[in-house]
């Protein structure tokens, strides 16, 4: 029996080569897209699961009651209080990061991101040491563990244990262990971990001042502890701590480790690498849409052939097949069709895996599909597809009259024939249009947003801006001054200045600022950036009001600040010039506002530009900023490097061009956006294939009608109108459903971006019109084909 069925399937497949090919290609593209998306989603969900105690590890998150903002950077001083006072915390560690530290060993010097962590990090997370004792490696101050790659970079083939790495040319760290590379699916990605206790020596304020938010807390909670009780205890302790220093109330929540990667709050403060649950959800929606459409396409393929097939099924029924037999045959056919598509899809996935990995920055492989969760998902999705695909044809076959099917007039059903047929097909067509219109709108909006991000006004001129890293130590300012004097004479250099942060760096210095005379609780969290004279001018930032720092005003150094627009708005200053602010840089005296500049983007567009306060200080020299003329950059660079080496033999020459740093900053954002766009586009293509199938079906069922009309003297255009009329109503109705849905979903999607496009009404008009145009094009094609054919042909049968 099976062989008999398979024979029919095979012969049908080859009989209609083109339609089989189109349909299998469509289905294969759909399945391949789904496989890619599944791989991507599961990879995202995989993060931090490698930890043995994953279910009991939590990270502390703060919610600002006032602004609703979430962040997880916390004053390190609180850690031991929490550990000591909450018995449910079995273990825990605090971790913070020092960006761009200069590490050196003998002549070798490089810029590194150094993590500082509490000694129990290896007991909470499943990081492991290749060498060294995990219990003691991070106990002593000034001890450090490094990965083999880092070890090779500094020590070559020598055994690093016991050797000393110099930190910012000042502190000697002893290597106490070799850290195995952290698993790919770890959201924390350190390659150098120093002991937290080292902070006592390097920057003791970080460990003692509650206003210094610099660490992230991870806790391993007892297995039978109640989270809500722990949360209550936490809030009680912390409320008290904060109210002692008069800070605004916040809420503290323990966030499960498994959620950290996907749900981590904004990267302004973030220490972990993170994905976005938004994208995971977008992808899931796209997968379902793609499969839904692929199913519709299959349905219309079946329906196109159903007159013929219906007859076959009727004959089989006379020869003794019962409903179960026919159902089985149907199922088998669908399964065979899906199986072939699945094979083709696997080939597609294999071939394009590299490109996909490049696009997403992941390391996926075909074999990852064999994870049981993915296998189950694939099976579930295929069952879903099969179910959706065969419902309609089965209903037709089982409700239509056996005799009618034998005669080939399948559509005469026992139950109110015309009505059932009308409703069902119209709904399927309508749904297909709804999805198509929605996708067109989505593609336009995503494309616009990506484009907007690329061409966003940064607030400053990023061309030919060179930033040189100046290690943070006692000589930094003199080093900067010396370089400035040396290179200032070069005609290719327009200006030289310095700042604690330059755009594209993360801002890591935040403080509570309030207007003099008002309560501290009424203040705001603001970034503070120490700069040197000429910083704002070199960046070419526009002043809204007031003036730049100037050596002509003695009070500028130490007493004056410049705000960005966001800070001005957050503080609610109507007349900012002359306003006095407390809390900046822990100064006891209030500082006077002398100017307000336009907002500039330091970080990703996803983040809202924070309030920023600029002030003059000599530790601003962390980044030396040069504006070059833009001609003869190579020799200018050589000139600058020579001068740098002449001044500091033991400091690395680490530089970056800001335009390149920006490209890097937005790369991941763009990548993910591009992937979403790509899959939306695939979905759109598949849905167009589907529309083609549906309209062809309609044209076929109306072949006879068009033939008769032609014999009676109708023109091709008349036939076209007759067919178009039916679709116009459906498309109109589909617009009414699709456009509000698109508005709602895309509006939600855009909320993720702090700087986003407005959804214009024209996008919706365009989406509707494009769908209409696609439909009209297909209808014309089909009508012309049928109408120009000899009517005798279409009338001969029946």
């Amino acid at each position: 029996m099976l062989k008999n069925y398979l024979t029919v399937i095979r012969r049908n497949l080859f009989k209609q080569k083109t339609s089989s090919l189109i349909n299998i290609a469509g289905m294969a593209i759909a399945i391949a897209s789904c496989l890619f998306i599944l791989l991507y989603i599961f990879d995202e969900l995989q993060f931090d699961r490698f930890n043995k105690n994953e279910d009991y590890i939590y990270r502390l998150v703060i919610k600002d009651n006032k602004t609703g903002e979430e962040f997880s950077i916390i004053p390190a001083v609180l850690f031991h209080d929490l550990m000591n006072q909450i018995p449910e915390f079995q273990r825990g560690f605090e971790i913070s990061r020092w960006l761009d530290a200069a590490l050196s060993y003998k002549q070798k010097i490089f810029s590194e991101n150094v993590f500082f962590a509490g000694k129990d990090i290896f007991k909470v997370l499943s990081f492991s040491l290749k060498e060294g004792n995990p219990n003691t490696a991070l106990t002593e101050p000034l001890s450090v563990v490094i990965t083999p790659a880092i070890s090779e970079k500094y020590f070559g083939n020598e055994n690093p244990i016991g050797k000393v790495l110099k930190f910012n040319n000042q502190f000697n760290f002893k290597v106490t262990g070799i850290l195995n590379e952290v698993p790919r699916h770890s959201s924390l990605r350190p390659s150098i971990i120093a002991s937290m206790s080292s902070m006592k020596t390097i920057d003791p304020r970080r460990l003692t001042d509650i206003r210094e938010s610099s660490a992230y807390f991870y806790f391993l909670v007892n297995k039978n502890a109640s989270l809500s009780i722990v949360n209550k205890k936490l809030n009680k302790i912390l409320e008290q701590k904060y109210s002692n220093v008069g800070e605004s109330p916040r809420k503290f929540v323990l966030e499960p480790l498994s959620k950290v990667y996907l749900y981590a709050p904004g990267s302004n403060w973030e220490i972990v690498s993170h994905g976005s649950i938004k994208y995971v959800r977008s992808f899931a929606v796209i997968t379902l849409l793609i499969l839904l459409m692929a199913s519709f396409n299959y349905t219309s393929l079946l329906t196109v052939n159903i007159k013929v097939r219906g007859k076959e099924f009727a004959v089989r029924r006379l020869l003794g097949a019962d409903r179960r037999g026919i159902f089985g045959q149907f199922l088998l056919e669908t399964a065979a069709y899906l199986f072939i598509s699945l094979i083709v899809a696997l080939v597609i996935v294999d071939v394009f895996m590299n490109q996909f990995n490049q696009l997403t920055g992941k390391h996926l492989e075909l074999a990852s599909l064999l994870q049981w969760q993915i296998v189950i998902s694939i099976i579930a999705l295929i069952l879903f597809t099969v179910a959706i695909s065969i419902i309609y044809p089965l209903i037709i076959i089982f409700t239509s009259d056996l005799l009618a099917r034998l005669k080939g007039g399948l559509y005469i059903s026992r139950f109110k024939p015309a009505k059932l047929q009308f409703g069902f097909r119209q709904i399927v067509t309508g749904l297909q249009f709804v999805i198509t219109i929605f996708l067109i709108a989505a593609v336009i909006i995503i494309y616009k947003q990506l484009n907007y991000m690329l061409n966003q006004d940064l607030g400053f001129n990023k061309e030919h801006l060179l930033s040189i890293q100046n290690p943070y130590d006692k000589d930094m300012y003199s080093r900067y001054e010396e370089l400035k004097n040396e290179v200032g004479i070069n005609p290719h250099i327009i200006s030289v200045t310095a700042g604690e942060n330059v755009p594209s760096n993360n801002i890591n210095n935040y403080t509570q600022v309030w207007i003099k005379g008002k309560k501290i609780e009424r203040g705001i969290q603001s970034a503070q950036i120490a700069i040197d004279y000429g910083y704002l001018k070199t960046l070419q930032v526009k002043f809204i009001v007031g003036r730049d720092f100037s050596r002509n005003f003695k009070t500028d150094a130490g007493k004056s600040v410049i705000l960005n627009q966001a800070a001005c708005e957050a503080l609610g200053l109507r007349n900012p010039i002359g306003a006095e602010l407390n809390g900046i840089n822990n100064a006891s005296d209030p500082q006077t506002v002398i100017g307000v500049v336009k907002n500039i983007h330091y970080e990703s567009f996803k983040e809202k530009i924070p309030p920023i306060i600029y002030y003059l200080r000599d530790w601003s020299a962390g980044n030396i900023l040069l504006r070059l003329k833009g001609n003869d950059i190579t020799s200018t660079m050589k000139f600058i490097e020579k001068k740098w080496k002449g001044i500091n033999k033991d400091q690395p020459f680490i530089y970056s061009f800001l335009d390149q740093s920006y490209d890097k900053l937005y790369k991941s954002e763009q990548q993910t956006g591009t992937v979403v766009l790509l899959f939306c586009f695939f979905a759109l293509i598949i849905s167009c294939i589907g529309l083609f199938g549906l309209i062809s079906l309609l044209a076929q069922t109306r072949r006879k009608e068009i033939g008769i009309r032609k014999v009676l003297g109708a023109s091709v255009f008349n036939s076209f109108l007759a067919m178009t009329k039916e679709f116009l109503i459906i498309i109109l109705a589909a617009n009414l459903i699709a456009l509000p849905a698109a508005y709602y979903l895309m509006h939600n999607w855009l909320q993720d971006f702090s700087y986003r496009i407005n959804i214009n009404w024209w996008i919706f008009i365009a989406s509707g019109s494009i769908a209409l145009l696609i439909a009209l094009a297909i209808i014309s094609f089909q009508v012309i084909r049928v109408a120009t054919a000899n009517p005798v042909k279409s009338l001969r049968y029946e």
Partner: protein, 220 residues
């Protein structure tokens, strides 16, 4: 074998009932060869379809081997088709995607006949109908008469008790028609009950009883 009692068939068209069959009472015994004749629209095919359980009567009772067909469900009906009834149609109704051999094999597959037995019976039937050379051809590679031969072969291969033939020779020229009728007659001689619908007096003569229908009534 077949008992029809007060069979009526009508279609409801808004308010008007359109009658196709009126008050049909008839019996067909095993071994008979019955021809149903009548002008177009007399209801011949409808009657044959009701006998073949492809269509149901609007009113009346139908007993097949004393079992009430009018009360049976779909599953039972398909059971009866499978084991008792073979159909021959004017349009042959072969499965286009299957070869002659595979077409003949299909009813046996549905009856779950064992492989060896099945092969034997298909070979025997092919032999009987002189179609061994054509066994790998598809229906559209055969002439109309040959297709009808295959259809009859397929109808009898499952050894049905009853063969229902709806204008079996309608699409054939007279020589071919004659051949088909001879085969049916031979089958009848071997004990198969046959009911045929036909326009042709000549063909009707092959049977041993003729029922005349007119406007849905049986003419006495």
């Amino acid at each position: 074998m077949i008992k029809l009692h007060n069979i009526e068939k009508y279609y409801n068209n808004k308010i008007i009932k359109t009658f196709v069959l009126r008050n049909i009472n008839m019996e067909i015994a095993e071994g008979e060869f019955v021809s149903i004749m009548g002008p177009s629209g007399a209801g011949k095919t409808t009657l044959l379809n009701i006998i073949g359980m492809l269509d149901s009567a609007s009113e009346g009772e139908y007993y097949f081997y004393d079992e009430p067909v009018h009360k049976m469900n779909e599953k039972k009906l398909s059971q009866l088709h499978k084991s008792y009834i073979g159909f021959v149609f004017q349009q042959y109704h072969l499965i286009d995607e299957l070869t002659v051999y595979e077409n003949l094999e299909t009813p046996l597959l549905y009856q779950k006949v064992k492989t060896n037995d099945r092969k034997g019976r298909v070979a025997e039937t092919l032999d009987k109908f002189n179609m061994v050379a054509k066994k790998d051809l598809f229906p559209n590679q055969l002439s109309g008469g040959q297709q009808q031969l295959v259809a009859i072969a397929r109808a009898i291969i499952a050894q049905p008790k009853l063969i229902l033939a709806d204008e079996p020779t309608g699409n054939l020229h007279s020589d071919q028609g004659k051949e088909i009728m001879e085969i049916l007659k031979a089958l009848n001689k071997q004990g198969t009950t046959i009911v045929q619908v036909t326009h042709s007096e000549t063909n009707a003569e092959y049977g041993n009883r003729i029922i005349h229908l007119k406007d849905g009534w049986i003419e006495k």
